[in-house]
């Protein structure tokens, strides 16, 4: 079937401002939006800029706005979206080219919450023990693939680009609620600052945007609660 796309094009070296371009290509209803982009790029216009890699929703490269909502292009099937399929870059970061945005500020936020296990105790000879119940407490937030869909759908982030954003809080949650981590206090302190969790207004856009189905707002709520009560669990 013929499928119509409208893609917001912008080359800062050439264009004063972004403009929409139309493309129609033949696809199967079961094809992915990414298959459409690949076809357009391969057969019509090789200059379209976007990132992609695994093509099945695991690597987090191809987050973009599809018909107004942040989605991974490889996890949306043609049959499930209205045509013309309007594709824009994620909002809030500088556009480098077409759908490619500058991800460095995003990774900077990620790094700011100290995203690694903080160990004070000696490592044992074999594995540390962790009960299945304790493992379950942070299971949801281990799924994050750092695609940026949640942060760039968040009105608090649009209003204040310094807000650490849902993705970084999800990553912090993954460690704060891990029984093996010994850096909870310093992480909670970072998130208690003005640009931390309190900027979240529980709009829930992040939950809709997350391609991994993470209950982002709940995770943020658990971090807020830990701060209020002064302890985890």
């Amino acid at each position: 079937m013929d499928v119509r796309f409208e893609i917001l094009r912008f080359d800062p070296a050439r264009d004063a401002k972004p403009h929409w371009e139309d493309y129609t290509v033949e696809l199967e209803p079961t094809d992915r939006v990414l298959d459409g982009l690949e076809k357009i790029k391969g057969e019509r216009d090789g200059s379209i800029g976007y990132r992609r890699s695994c093509a099945h929703g695991v690597c987090g490269s191809d987050a973009m706005k599809i018909n107004g909502r942040n989605r991974l292009a490889c996890k949306v099937l043609i049959r499930s979206v209205r045509q013309p399929i309007r594709i824009e870059p994620m909002m809030g970061f500088t556009v480098h080219k077409d759908l490619l945005v500058d991800m460095e500020p995003f990774f900077k936020k990620y790094r700011s919450i100290r995203p690694y296990l903080i160990e004070a105790s000696e490592r044992p000879d074999a594995e540390r023990l962790q009960s299945p119940e304790n493992r379950e407490k942070f299971d949801d937030t281990t799924k994050c693939i750092l695609c940026g869909a949640c942060t760039t759908s968040c009105p608090s982030f649009w209003a204040d680009p310094n807000y650490v954003g849902p993705a970084a809080i999800v990553q912090a949650h993954r460690f704060i609620f891990d029984s093996r981590d010994e850096g909870k206090e310093e992480r909670l302190k970072i998130l208690n600052e003005r640009e931390g969790v309190w900027a979240c207004r529980t709009v829930f856009n992040c939950v809709d945007a997350c391609p991994r189905g993470i209950q982002v707002t709940r995770a943020i709520g658990e971090v807020k609660q830990a701060l209020t009560r002064g302890k985890v669990d």
Binding site: A13, S47, S53, V58, G60, S61, L100, Y116, D181
Partner: protein, 575 residues
């Protein structure tokens, strides 16, 4: 010309590259250069588990793991390297846990383990729970954990820099040249040591589980610089790719009790491998599926079978296999707890690659001669621990064990060695290559790539025959000719992915031809390499590795190298 000076450069930021970076950057100035952001690397898509004889749920030993790996390899793996890998698997898995990897847990709180294809107790008596897992996203957790540790350690990254050439001066490795994708500018990385950890080349096939970026860059770059490649004819086809799409459905689905069925609903694996049944090694299961299809027992008479999980507990599936449940729902609109999943073999893993010793140092001939300053680890390398067929979970073991060993070798060598001079005009080859690709031609990259992938899937996959391989080699030569005059519509410099894809295509075409040529030369069937015209394994003539060198015109020249056998003499492979 931008020149960066480092002690060592690691190309690729998947599991092997990051593991190496963690080791090497402890005592030397190291840069990790990758065409992707590290967290986009393909390690992140590994699902089922990492094999290590922890014995958390039942008795297990590294000797059994070693035996299974050697037998799984159809006796082509080098047994000294396999022994190292299976011994060190145990401590490296503990190390991953110590780094924070969130493994699933047993009721006692230990790392959870489950059965996987070809992994057995007591040298083949029955399945053993050896695959250490984190739900069905073990690779994702490994990649995330290693990247986290790199941040903690302050490792230097050059993200979205596409390495396009290896520099050699005075017979030593002297660095690499890369395109900065954001600007299109060339950068020279001048270094004493370079490790390639660039992953596989599955994109030479049409149906593949591999990412769009898995285009054999590391193998291709070295091949063009005169380094041979080893065992290229051995490419693994994973039995359970989603029909038509190739997306992987983990072997853990069968580890958890899933069953393959043909159109009559028959559990056909019972006929092929009565002891291990659905948990036989991948080469055998893929061939069995093909055989069922050939004999008309595919679903609806087509080229796929069913993976049936409907008899399993739905809660357990959601807990232990959440991601594949999501894939199946997203891409097929199927609830795997209620309906069977249509699957077919999908090109999954290159057993062959850049020949190395067990310290990840690149060896350039059949006499273990090391190329100074050059290292390779992970899927792009061939140690060889997988031989003719890799067991499930062993790719993750490989990247962690040999990434770590390689990082240590790199560190040891750069501490001792002086920095070799840069060759005169180091960017010359890269610059001329880009100019040639950007020149006005008539051929579309996507057309050539599509045809290569179709031919390779048709003629060089699970079943192979001389006639088909000869045909595909001829086609690939024509395609290489066409690829000399491509037409790129993107004339810009910033993020010119079309240019990047043109270079990736050059690697894929040459690697595909090397694969087909080595497959044609090997007149026997072993592991993943099955010849309809030579259906038996032939140890008298072919218990040896193949090597392939690139000739000046781009076509391959073949040679061989001996296999190291220590503990286990080759036997007939039955499961």
């Amino acid at each position: 010309m931008a020149v960066h000076q480092f002690d060592g450069v690691i190309v690729g930021a998947g599991g092997a590259g990051l593991m190496a970076a963690l080791q090497a950057s402890k005592g030397a100035k190291i840069a990790v250069v990758s065409k992707l952001y590290p967290t986009r690397s393909h390690t992140g898509t590994a699902q089922g588990g990492i094999g290590a004889a922890l014995g958390n749920l039942e008795k297990d030993s590294w000797e059994w793991h070693m035996f299974d790996t050697v037998k799984g390899s159809d006796y082509l793996a080098d047994q000294d390297a396999v022994e190292l890998m299976c011994r060190e698997a145990v401590e490296t898995v503990y190390e991953l846990e110590h780094m924070g990897l969130p493994f699933s847990r047993t009721p006692e709180g230990k790392i959870a383990q489950r059965p996987f294809g070809g992994h057995t107790r007591e040298f083949g008596k029955g399945p053993v729970r050896r695959a250490c897992y984190a739900a069905d996203r073990t690779g994702h957790m490994i990649l995330q954990t290693l990247y986290q540790q790199c941040i903690k350690q302050g490792v230097t990254f050059f993200d979205e820099f596409h390495v396009v050439d290896l520099l050699i001066s005075e017979g030593r490795t002297a660095g690499v040249v890369a395109v900065e994708l954001a600007t299109g500018e060339l950068h020279t990385f001048h270094a004493k040591g370079v490790m390639f950890a660039t992953g596989g080349s599955g994109r030479m096939f049409k149906i593949t589980s591999n990412a769009l970026t898995l285009t054999g860059d590391g193998m291709g770059i070295l091949y063009r610089r005169g380094i041979p490649l080893q065992d290229m004819e051995f490419f693994q086809f994973h039995p359970t790719g989603i029909y038509k799409m190739g997306i992987l459905i983990t072997e853990a689905a069968r580890g958890e009790g899933g069953i393959l069925r043909n159109k009559a609903g028959e559990r056909f694996m019972e006929r092929y491998t009565p002891t291990l049944k659905d948990l036989a090694p991948r080469d055998m299961v893929s061939r069995a599926i093909h055989q069922e299809v050939l004999e008309g027992r595919g679903i609806d008479g087509k080229d796929f079978v069913h993976l049936d999980l409907t008899h399993l507990d739905a809660d357990a599936i959601h807990k232990k296999l959440p991601d594949i449940t999501d894939f199946v729902e997203t891409y097929l609109g199927i609830d795997p707890t209620k309906q069977p999943i249509p699957v077919q073999p999908t090109a999954h893993y290159a057993m062959g690659g850049i020949p190395t010793d067990a310290s990840a140092r690149v060896v350039v001939d059949d006499k273990k001669t090391v190329m100074p300053g050059l290292y390779a680890a992970g899927e792009c390398a061939c140690v060889s621990v997988h031989g003719a067929n890799r067991l499930g979970t062993n790719s993750l073991v490989d990247i962690i064990v040999f990434g770590r060993r390689g990082g240590k070798s790199l560190l040891e060598d750069v501490k001792r060695d002086p920095l070799p001079p840069l060759p005169a005009d180091p960017e010359k080859q890269a610059r001329e290559r880009i100019a040639r690709l950007m020149a006005e031609g008539g051929q579309r990259v996507s057309d050539i790539r599509t045809e290569m992938q179709a031919r390779m899937t048709e003629k060089a996959s699970v079943f192979r025959i001389a006639e088909g391989l000869t045909d595909v080699i001829g086609r690939l030569k024509q395609l290489r000719k066409r690829a000399e005059s491509v037409r790129l519509t993107d004339r810009g410099k910033a993020y010119n992915a079309e240019l990047m894809e043109a270079m990736e295509l050059e690697y894929l075409l040459e690697l595909a031809e090397a694969t087909a040529a080595a497959a044609l030369a090997r007149q026997e069937s072993r592991g993943a390499h099955y010849r309809e015209d030579f259906p038996k394994r032939d140890d008298a003539n072919w218990l040896k590795h193949s090597l392939v060198w690139r000739q000046p015109d781009g076509s391959p020249r073949l040679g061989t190298k001996p296999v190291t056998i220590t503990r286990f003499e080759p036997k007939e492979r039955k499961y």
